[in-house]
C-alpha cells in the first residue's frame, strides 16, 4: 500500500537518511566549523554508513522498532560526537514507543517523534531556544501531535513534522548557543544555523521522502 508506514518504510527512511547525509556531509561540516569543531557531517556520515553496512549484512529487522533500535545502537557506537548519544537515545526511545507494531498509525507516529525529542532532551538537557537539535525536534513533535489530532494521515503527520523541523532549524540562526560546544562561542554563535538542528531536519525530510516512495 502506497505510503504505509511499515518496516519497509523504516528501512527506506534510514537508507534515504544515509544518502542525504552523505550528500550534505560537507555542508554540515561547514556549519559545524562556524560554531563547533567541524565534524558533524563526518560524524553522521560515518554513523549512517555503518547503519547501511548493518542493514546490508545482518538479518532484516522484523518491525519498524527493530529498524530504529539497530540504528540507535549503531549511531551510539560509531558517531563519536555529541550526535551519537543524542540521536542514539532519540532512535532508541522512538523504537521503544512503537512496541511491536508492524504498521504505524498517525497518532503513534506523533508519539514516536515526541519520544525521540524527549530522548534528546533527557540526554542533553537543552531547552528550546538553546540553539541545538531540540529546536528542530520540539516544533516537529508539536506539529506532528497537532496534525495527528486533526486527523491527518501518517504521511501528512511526517510532512508536518519535517516542515516544522526545517523551520526550527532555520530559526536557530539568530540564537545564542547555550548547550554543547557552540556555547563556548557565546554571542559569536549568532548568525549560523545549528548543525544538529539542520541534520535533524534532513532526517525528518528523509522520512517524508521514504513515505512517498512506497511500493504500490
Amino acid at each position: 500500500m502506497a505510503g504505509s508506514l511499515d518496516t519497509a518504510w523504516a528501512l527506506r527512511w534510514m537508507r534515504e537518511t544515509a544518502r542525504v547525509i552523505a550528500v550534505e556531509r560537507a555542508a554540515l561540516i561547514d556549519l559545524d566549523r562556524a560554531i563547533g569543531d567541524a565534524d558533524h557531517g563526518e560524524n553522521l556520515d560515518r554513523g549512517f554508513t555503518a547503519v547501511l553496512g548493518k542493514l546490508d549484512t545482518e538479518d532484516a529487522p522484523a518491525t519498524p522498532a527493530a529498524v530504529l533500535k539497530l540504528v540507535a545502537m549503531t549511531l551510539m557506537s560509531t558517531v563519536g560526537g555529541a550526535a551519537g548519544p543524542l540521536y542514539g537515545t532519540a532512535f532508541l526511545r522512538a523504537a521503544t514507543s512503537l512496541g511491536d507494531a508492524e504498521e504505524i498509525e498517525a497518532a503513534q507516529l506523533a508519539t514516536m517523534i515526541a519520544a525521540a525529542r524527549d530522548g534528546i532532551v533527557a540526554r542533553g538537557k537543552a531547552e528550546p531556544g538553546d540553539k541545538t537539535m531540540v529546536d528542530a525536534w520540539t516544533p516537529a513533535a508539536d506539529a506532528a501531535t497537532t496534525a495527528a489530532r486533526e486527523g491527518s494521515t501518517g504521511a501528512e503527520v511526517l510532512a508536518a513534522a519535517a516542515e516544522a523541523a526545517r523551520a526550527g532549524a532555520v530559526a536557530t540562526e539568530p540564537l545564542i548557543a547555550r548547550k554543547g560546544r557552540a556555547s563556548y562561542l557565546g554571542e559569536r554563535s549568532i548568525g549560523h544555523q545549528d548543525p544538529g538542528a539542520v541534520s535533524s531536519a534532513l532526517i525528518l525530510e528523509a522520512a517524508v521522502d521514504a513515505a512517498g516512495d512506497g511500493a504500490p
Partner: protein, 131 residues
Amino acid sequence: MSVGLVIVSHSEKIAVGVVELAAQMAPDVVIVAAGGTDDGDGVRIGTSFERVRAGIEEAMGDDGVVVLTDLGSAVMTAETVLEFLEPEVRAAVRLAEAAIVEGAVAAAVQSQGGAPLEEVLRAAEGAVVSL
C-alpha cells in the same frame, strides 16, 4: 582492592597521558584510558561508547568505579553507557563533575589510600586546580 577510574577524553593521547600521570601516585589503582573514537579505521577525536563500556568493565572491582570526562559530549557518551549497565553494576559507578586531569590525580591518590567510592568521587570533584 580499590576504586577504579575510567578516563573519558575526546583525545586518546589525553586519556593515556592522564592514566600515566595518575598512576605515578597510585600504582595499585586500576585506571583505564577511554579516549578517542574507535570505529575500525583509526582513532579520531571524539568519544566511543564501546571504549567507555569496556573501560568501566575493566576498572570495576569490588569497590566501584569513578568515571571522569572532558567535554560535554564525553559526558553524554558516558551517561548513555551507564543506562545500559545492569542495575547492580550501575549502582557502583559514579560520573564525576571534575577537571579531568586534576580530578583524576586527586581521585587516584584517594583510591590508592583505600578510600570508598563516594570519597574518591568527592576528591575528583573537589580537586584544586594546579595544586
